[in-house]
């Protein structure tokens, strides 16, 4: 054997080796696909068309539910902040009910010029609403289907909106790069609509507001737990401010120990296992960290001046940003969860109510940079890149803005804006664009976006 190998000419062996390498390379190519793509000038938004769904039943409820569904779906997709929606007036006249009726050339041609089309049918039979929805890639006629979904619920207007939210979230998850949509999320806030300041809840788009608590006292700063099961908030009791807990699962108040002194501004850690809050049982308000059920409270700050409004880094759960008045006017600081590594972020003015972005990169807060009587500017929402401490102003010269809270997808911020008489809840994209008013009546404040 060795003899024959020694006899083979060297170039023959080289050729054999090359063939072997080629074969290996080829097997690698079979194992995985290659994609070659790139960028030079940023990315455009996806041009998405949401066709009106085709009513495919004669039930009298169908028309109403279809209108609700179409409106909700269109709003969800346009609120997502990642789509360039095709206006309804530019859409083709024929609304396809299923993939067989779909004529992609109509949608991809001007004036619609859609890159993606969401379409389907809605039918009501025997009090059940059935929705079939598809998402097609208009630029890829050979294999256009990206998504095909089927929903079946009781035929109510709420369910039509719920189905639209779910379908929109599916589309946003696929086309938004794995980040779930926020169409099914909620916003908790404080409203005095019923006379007292109670905790209220509404859908992310402002629909369906309803009171959560009925305590008959003053409740502030609601914070919902990451699993959406409990709401912690500060409430004025007989012995002063204390943290109360409401279970969304049980639908009633649950026990939370009273710390003594005034205790307020709770904040859930990203894993839901710990609660940071501010307590003045030792005189100054200081930051404490306890378990989710209120036991084992440890003090982490000890400075002169108040330390309030903690917020966790939801990505690492090891850092806390808070608002401290040690230098006079309140400023935003960050520290590790054990109280070390304190860093000041804002360099002056009046900065309050920090909220940490879901990816851990940014801090949103309210800031009045030139604080004082007759100073120019007002209280506005800012975001700061924590690593570089560079900030961007999001709201400009429109009322007093406070209490920002990030949406779970990190693309939106909900906040409170006070113009004239009462405060209302607003939402906007995280770059400050597309500001929408979510509440219309009464005084509504201190919004908190649910985690999912």
């Amino acid at each position: 054997m060795t003899k024959s190998r020694a006899d083979t000419p060297p170039y023959f062996r080289l050729a054999l080796l090359i063939l072997l390498l080629l074969a290996l390379d080829r097997s690698r190519a079979i194992a995985q696909d290659w994609v070659r793509t790139g960028t030079n000038l940023g990315a455009q938004r996806i041009r998405l068309a949401a066709a009106e769904f085709n009513p495919s039943s004669a039930d009298p409820q169908t028309a109403n539910l279809k209108t609700t569904f179409d409106t909700t779906l269109f709003n969800d997709l346009s609120n997502a902040g990642i789509f360039d929606m095709v206006s309804r007036s530019m859409a083709p006249a024929v609304m396809p009910a299923n993939p067989q009726q779909m004529n992609l050339a109509q949608w991809s041609a001007a004036p619609a010029s859609a890159a993606m089309v969401a379409f389907g049918s809605i039918a009501v039979t025997n009090g059940r609403v059935a929705v079939y929805g598809w998402l097609f890639d208009a630029k890829n006629p050979s294999s256009p289907q990206i998504l095909g979904k089927q929903y079946n619920e009781d035929a109510t207007s709420e369910n039509a909106r719920l189905i639209a939210h779910r379908f929109a979230d599916e589309i946003i998850t696929r086309l938004g790069g794995g980040i779930s949509g926020i169409a099914e999320t909620h916003i908790l806030y404080v409203s005095s609509r019923g006379g007292n300041k109670e905790i209220w809840q509404m859908d992310y788009d402002g629909q369906g507001p309803h009171a959560v608590t009925h305590l008959g006292t003053i409740s502030l700063s609601p914070r919902i737990s990451p699993d959406n099961s409990r709401v912690a908030f500060a409430s004025l009791g007989r012995s002063g401010w204390e943290i109360r807990m409401y279970s969304m699962v049980l639908g009633r108040m649950v026990n939370f120990p009273s710390m003594g002194g005034n205790t307020y501004s709770p904040a859930w850690s990203g894993d839901g296992s710990r609660l940071a809050f501010s307590s003045s049982r030792s005189g100054d308000p200081e930051i404490y960290i306890s378990d989710a059920n209120g036991s084992d409270a440890r003090r982490v700050t000890s400075f002169r001046g108040p330390d309030v409004s903690p917020t966790w880094n939801p990505k690492s759960n090891s850092q806390i940003a808070w608002c401290s008045g040690r230098t006079g006017l309140p400023q935003i600081y960050t520290m590790d969860a054990d109280g070390t590594n304190v860093q000041r972020l804002t360099d002056g003015g009046y900065a309050t109510s920090p909220s940490w972005s879901p990816n851990g990169q940014f801090l949103a807060f309210a800031w009045n940079r030139k604080y004082g009587p007759g100073a120019p500017g007002g209280q506005d929402i800012y975001i700061m890149d924590i690593a570089s401490k560079r900030w961007t102003q999001l709201t400009h010269e429109q009322g007093r803005n406070d209490f920002p809270s990030w949406s779970p997808d990190g693309r939106h911020i909900v906040f409170q804006r006070e113009e004239g008489r009462g405060a209302e809840i607003w939402s906007m994209l995280a770059d400050g664009s597309e500001q929408h008013k979510l509440t219309q009546s009464g005084s509504n404040s201190m919004p908190n976006w649910s985690w999912k």
Binding site: P10, I30, Q32, V35, T37, G42, I46, T173
Partner: protein, 274 residues
């Protein structure tokens, strides 16, 4: 040093008495004479006993072998020598030479027919090629612009047999971009959103391009990102790499895609300082 001083003290004290040399000298001389005597005696005895072996029949050295000289002497033989057919002193007569054919005498008016001469081919000796000492250098990239756009190479790389026996073999695979163009768009857009051109040094020329290679796992997460071809600007290289690393996930790979990972080659072209 203690030892040297002690020694000098000893030397100076002169406590060593001179020993007598006579007795040991006599013993030494006697021993030498004894050894010489033993040698001489051994040689004598050896010669004496060796002498008895002289002429013995053994093959040991010293014996004498008698060799007959008769074969070497040209003595008259008492029997005639054997006629050896193979080696004889009288060679047989050689066969007669073939008769010389008489050349036909050409007619005086005949014209000689010219013969066709076959071209002589130079014989090529197979020269053994020397094995290359070094790998041949890779071909230099041609810095020439190739114009026009070639059709995308959409070669099927995997075959799957359809369950229907009558139909021909369906060919799939290797066409991720054609089947899931939307996912390629997702990758492109998401990385582009995470690319901060502010990180690039302003002196970088517009059009500088870095190629970054990475893998997308089944759940959409990014692994093993690395610079595949540098742009020449370290800040542009690192900004591209950071853009990839900022991405947590692209979302799960499309359900119709049956491989475990997707390789992506992503290029960042610097648009110039703005």
């Amino acid at each position: 040093m203690a030892w040297s001083s002690g020694n000098s003290d000893l030397w100076n004290a002169g406590e060593y008495e001179r020993e007598g040399m006579g007795a040991p000298f006599a013993k030494s001389t006697a021993l030498h004479l004894l050894i010489i005597g033993l040698f001489v005696g051994y040689a004598y005895m050896h010669n004496l006993f060796h002498g008895t072996e002289w002429g013995s029949n053994s093959l040991q050295e010293g014996s004498i072998q008698a060799t007959l000289v008769s074969s070497a002497l040209p003595l008259p033989q008492d029997h005639p020598p054997t006629e050896n057919v193979l080696a004889t002193e009288t060679p047989s007569t050689a066969p007669a030479l073939p008769e010389q054919k008489a050349e036909p005498v050409p007619l005086p008016e005949a014209i000689p027919i010219p013969e066709k001469q076959a071209p002589v081919k130079p014989v090529q000796k197979p020269q053994p090629e020397a094995p290359p000492k070094h790998q041949p250098p890779p071909p230099k990239p041609q810095n020439k612009a190739t114009y026009g756009e070639a059709a995308p190479a959409n070669v099927a790389r995997a075959t799957t047999a359809t369950p229907n026996a009558n139909s021909s073999v369906a060919v799939t695979g290797g066409d991720f971009g054609a089947r899931f163009g939307w996912y390629v768009d997702v990758i492109k857009r998401k990385v582009a959103q995470n690319w901060y051109t502010q990180e690039v040094q302003p002196g970088t020329p517009a059009g500088a391009t870095v190629y970054v290679e990475f893998e997308v796992a089944r759940d959409g997460s990014v692994t093993s990102a690395r610079v595949s071809a540098s742009s020449g600007s370290p800040s542009l290289d690192s900004s591209g790499l950071r853009a990839i690393q900022r991405v947590d996930t692209f979302g799960p790979l499309p359900g119709g895609y049956n491989q475990s990972t997707l390789n992506v080659l992503y290029h960042f072209t610097y648009p110039g300082h703005q």
